[in-house]
Symmetry: C2
DNA sequence: TATCTTATTGCAACAGGATGCAATTGCAAT
DNA sequence: ATTGCAATTGCATCCTGTTGCAATAAGATA
């Protein structure tokens, strides 16, 4: 089921702006800032306002179609189906490392069993010190 | 060792603004927004600029004296010695729950052993669905 | 106490993000 | 095709947080 169909089925309108934002996000293989999305949008149709971009991204995130995360002091977005991956961010050198989902699974189960809390650890960010910076 | 002494020992100047910000944070038993800190600061000395507040908070956070976290779309600060506690935030109803440090310990060890990454899970925020909202 | 160095501040401007309102428009019904 | 409803947008403004620069001041030294 495409994202456009999801929007329609949930009663939202499929405006040209929303279609294009979805296209831009689908085509991207990197995380995009709102600004980048706005830039690409302006290349395709003129007169789009940034508030529309922010609103659309908020809507898409709320519907689970887009994932928003804060990395390196900036906010980025990517498609929700891109797969689950997590970032370990070193507070000292700023580098990012990939972290397998399997590592977070025990925590997820623990929270579920002990507290009845269904954690959403999709695209979770964990800060700390990388091996190189610990010395 | 007091926070003021820490600042001095690390070569930073103890300006009146910094002293007062430290006082305000020490006196507070709740998380404070930058705006709240600025407001209380203005009650004590006049003419303080918000950029000073933000800069001081950044400095204190960098020195580990203050903890900054993002809760409910806003950024709050509290004293670093307040103790380790973690927030489970429900994405549906917005409520927050306390989570024991022991729950995060296995993850911390896992990251250390498998990836050599020393995770800083102090005041970590985990989003998901609480028991009530899962039905 | 006076002087000096330079860290720190206030200020203005800026950037990213959010909001209220009137105009516009998507889309269902006819 | 036309109409009507209300969702959505553009616009202006606001809010939170950041940055560069000149003025100010903390604190060390004599």
């Amino acid at each position: 089921m495409s994202c456009s169909t999801t929007l329609k089925n949930k009663g939202y309108r499929l405006t040209p702006q929303r279609r294009l934002i979805l296209d831009i996000i689908h085509e991207a293989d990197v995380h995009l800032t709102a600004e980048a999305i706005l830039g690409q949008l302006e290349d395709r149709i003129s007169g789009v306002n940034k508030s529309t971009v922010y609103r659309t991204l908020e809507l898409l995130e709320g519907l689970g179609l887009v994932v928003k995360s804060d990395i390196c002091g900036g906010r980025v977005y990517h498609h929700a189906e891109e797969g689950h991956h997590h970032h370990l961010v070193c507070k000292s050198c700023g580098r990012q490392f990939h972290c397998d989902e399997a590592v977070l699974e025990p925590l997820k189960e623990s929270l579920r069993e002990k507290l009845g809390f269904e954690a959403d650890l999709n695209h979770h960010i964990i800060r700390g010190l990388c091996a190189a910076c610990q010395s």
